[in-house]
Amino acid sequence: MTQTMDAAQTGGKKRLIGGGAQQRLLAFASLIVLLIGFSIASPNFMQTSNMIAILQATSVNGVLAVAATLVIITGGIDLSVGTMMTFTAVMTGVVLTYLGMPLPVGVVTAIATGAFCGLCSGTFVAKMKIPPFIATLGMMLILKGLSLVISGTRPIYFNDTPGFDLISRGSLIGEIIPAVPIPNGVLILFIVAIVASYILSNTVLGRYTFALGSNEEAVRLSGVNTDRWKMAVYALAGGIVGIGGLLIASRLNSAQPALGLGYELEAIAAVVIGGTSLSGGRGTILGTLIGALIMAVLTNGLRVLTVAQEWQTVVTGVIIILAVYADMLRRKKV
């Protein structure tokens, strides 16, 4: 019995690490190579301040990518994470700045708004059978428009809410260990990633997330209410996007209603580089984190080397294609 237990627990861990492990190893190796390459090319690159800048730059995209990972594992796609992030930031601004509510209400508003938007997307996909691409494309435009309408196209500043900027920019860790002033935004990203990873591998919701992407009809024929669970996944993803909204708003100390478009593609890119299959059924949060880091390191490293920003975008595109091609090669071999 003990043996079974032990074996079973290893199995659980395997889930966390396994499934596309090679792709993630490859991604991780690429990350290391990039880090080494850039630090040889420029002595400024490896400095603590620069490393922290990279992590800080990863935090928002990383959180959005974690949300996108959940949806993508179900075999769906979420194009609305970028504008949803902005919408949750704007709603937080409304609650904190316009209505003058205390900070915790703002936090709850952001997460609840995101979860509600996700639930809407999930309803379109699960109940109304609209393909995820279309449903979330519509959602993306709706939320972009609503953000502009509600804010009157003007940024909402959080100057009246003391401590709001600390959500992202403060450093709890730095207060305890002054040598590593890791910003709270990064800390939040890691907490989100660990929780999402736990949900994926250890809860019923996580199990159905993989099962839906693997063979939805089989899940339905097993008597599972697939619609309900799919909506739950989109809602969870939306809630996580709400956290992303808090991070960006805190970092800019304002809700910028025009922001958001393009973030969804960066998030999806991170997911894909991290080895999650766009056809669903497999993927990991760890992979997505590595994917997000690769993108941030690239952007930062090329900037340190004073490569024009236009070229950074080109390189990111090439990396995406190479990452997916490597995955194809690997799968063909199996």
Binding site: T4, M5, R207, N215, A218, S222
Partner: protein, 508 residues
């Protein structure tokens, strides 16, 4: 023995098809009851009603003597009725145990999974089946046979007392079938009632206690498996009409040879195959799965490369290296998988018929002549009796038989007078089958040369003027069509392994 399931007077209609007519079926505890019939006889429909996937339109179902109404898959499993579908429905990215308990995972508080309990429970089920399989193995790393075992374990985990197996051995090899039978016998001895759907005659003798035969959506008879000769079961399945009406084989011996294939070879799949097809003749290709019939057709058509062999069309040697070469020579190939290879299902009938001959409807400026295409399409719709509201109807909305006719029209328009039909009636219901047969006979009567590849012996015998039989890539013989050839003769050639092989008869 106690009666587990009784189905009486079951009726089911689909749009345009009366799929089940007053069908009855019963199952006892601890028996294997084979359900047989040709494709389209209604076996799967009946079982989908029992397993809650379809609602019946009439009749009653008794379970343990009580009337029941399984209106969803869940309701059926709750009753204790498990089904293992023909196409496995597993989640490949999950482990065996995760698949077995999908939807009923052992949980801890807050929706957390109890993975150790899940694996332990699954291991218990595997043990009870004498199955050596790691519950934590990911399903896509398992063989098809092992995946099948996972499906059975899943069905058993519901404490199923009735287990429906729809062609469980279709993808298994002999050793794996033996493994499966061990488990079936074990379940039977424990009192589980098993409904076994299969086309393989030898399996019925090996595993079944009783056999119920269905034909054209109707109940034919239920017989004892051990004492009933296979030939009787076959004749029950095929029905009297086919054997009563002898095929009228026209005398084509003096017709011009339309297609001659000499010494066609490719690796182990096609070994030195030579045959001829005359104008006005239907040559049927019989053989077991993997005998190389489709490979021959595809090689002649240029869809696959060949190592060796000469192809003569109307007496002239032609060089065929691609399907377009073949089409130019007047050879058409109608794939068994119409939806994947034969039709653009989202486009309308008109576009599909014109698809292979678009240059004919294109002006010098590259503009398509819609009027010409419409007239042509309407001509073929009338000629072949394609049942469609108009030539603008999307092909996917037509029935299988009518889709097949659209493909035929496409090749006729392309002036193909040598036509290969690969499984022409696969997925086509019984009524439409005879229409396809009639169409093939008409095409032959008009002087076209027809090759029909079919896995259904009755179909081959119903259609062929001559029957070519293949086994393991070799042409083991050519038999005359009509009443003088029996199924046994064909089966003998179809199973003639290499050692016994000597080219039979003249191959012309």
């Amino acid at each position: 023995m106690k009666m587990l399931v009784e189905m009486r007077g079951i009726e089911k209609r689909f749009p345009g098809v009366h799929a089940l007519k007053d069908v009855r079926f019963d199952l006892r505890e601890g028996e294997v009851h084979a359900l047989m019939g040709e494709n389209g006889a209604g076996k799967s429909t009946l079982m989908k009603i029992l397993s809650g996937n379809y609602r019946r339109d009439g009749g009653e179902i008794l379970f343990d003597g009580e009337p029941v109404d399984p209106d969803s898959p869940r309701a059926a499993t709750d009753l204790g009725i498990g089904i293992i579908h023909q196409e496995l429905s597993l989640m490949n990215d999950l482990t065996a145990a995760q698949n077995v308990f999908i939807g009923r995972e052992p949980r801890k508080s807050f929706g957390r999974l109890d993975e150790p309990a899940l694996n332990a429970k699954t291991a218990g089920i595997f043990r009870s089946m004498n199955l050596k399989l790691d519950p934590k193995a990911q399903v896509d790393t398992l063989t098809i046979a092992k995946q099948q075992m996972v499906e059975i374990a899943k069905a058993l985990s519901y404490k199923s007392r009735v287990l429906i197996m729809d062609e469980p051995t279709a993808a298994l090899n002999d050793a794996e079938i033996a493994e499966l039978f061990v488990i079936i016998r074990k379940l039977r001895s424990e009192g589980v009632g098993i409904i076994y759907i299969s086309h393989k005659m030898d399996e019925i003798k090996r595993i079944a206690d009783r056999v119920t035969v269905m034909r054209d959506g109707e109940y034919v008879d239920t017989v004892d498996a051990a004492t009933t000769p296979l030939s009787r079961i076959i004749s029950m399945m095929v029905g009297r009409e086919v054997s009563e009406k002898p095929l009228d084989v026209p005398d084509t011996a003096n017709n011009e040879i339309a297609l001659e294939v000499r010494n066609l070879s490719r690796g182990r799949e096609i070994r030195d195959v030579s045959f001829t097809v005359r104008k006005g003749e239907i040559v049927g290709f019989a053989g077991l799965m993997g005998a190389g019939r489709t490979e021959v057709a595809r090689a002649v058509f240029g869809a696959d490369p060949r190592d060796d062999g000469e192809i003569l069309v109307h007496g002239k040697s032609v060089s065929i290296h691609s399907p377009s070469d073949a089409v130019r020579a007047g050879i058409g190939y109608l794939s068994e998988d119409r939806k994947r290879f034969g039709l653009a299902t989202g486009m309308d009938v008109r576009a599909n018929i014109a698809l292979a001959s678009l240059d004919r409807f294109t002006s010098k400026a590259g503009v398509l002549d819609e009027r010409g295409m419409r007239e042509t399409a309407q001509k073929y719709i009338g000629q072949l009796g394609i049942r469609t509201p108009s030539d603008r109807q999307e092909v996917r909305l037509l029935s299988g038989g009518n889709q097949q006719k659209v493909v035929v029209a496409k090749w006729l328009l392309r002036d193909c007078d040598i036509l290969f039909f690969d499984e022409p009636t696969r997925g086509i219901d019984v009524g439409a089958k005879s229409e396809i047969y009639k169409l093939l006979e008409e095409l032959a009567a008009q002087g076209r040369a027809i090759v029909v590849i079919s896995s259904e012996l009755p179909e081959v015998m119903r259609l062929s003027h001559r029957i070519a039989v293949m086994c393991e890539g070799r042409l083991t013989g050519i038999l005359p069509g009509g009443a003088e050839t029996t199924q046994e003769q064909i089966m003998e050639l179809a199973t003639q392994r290499e050692a016994a092989m000597a080219p039979v008869g003249e191959v012309a």
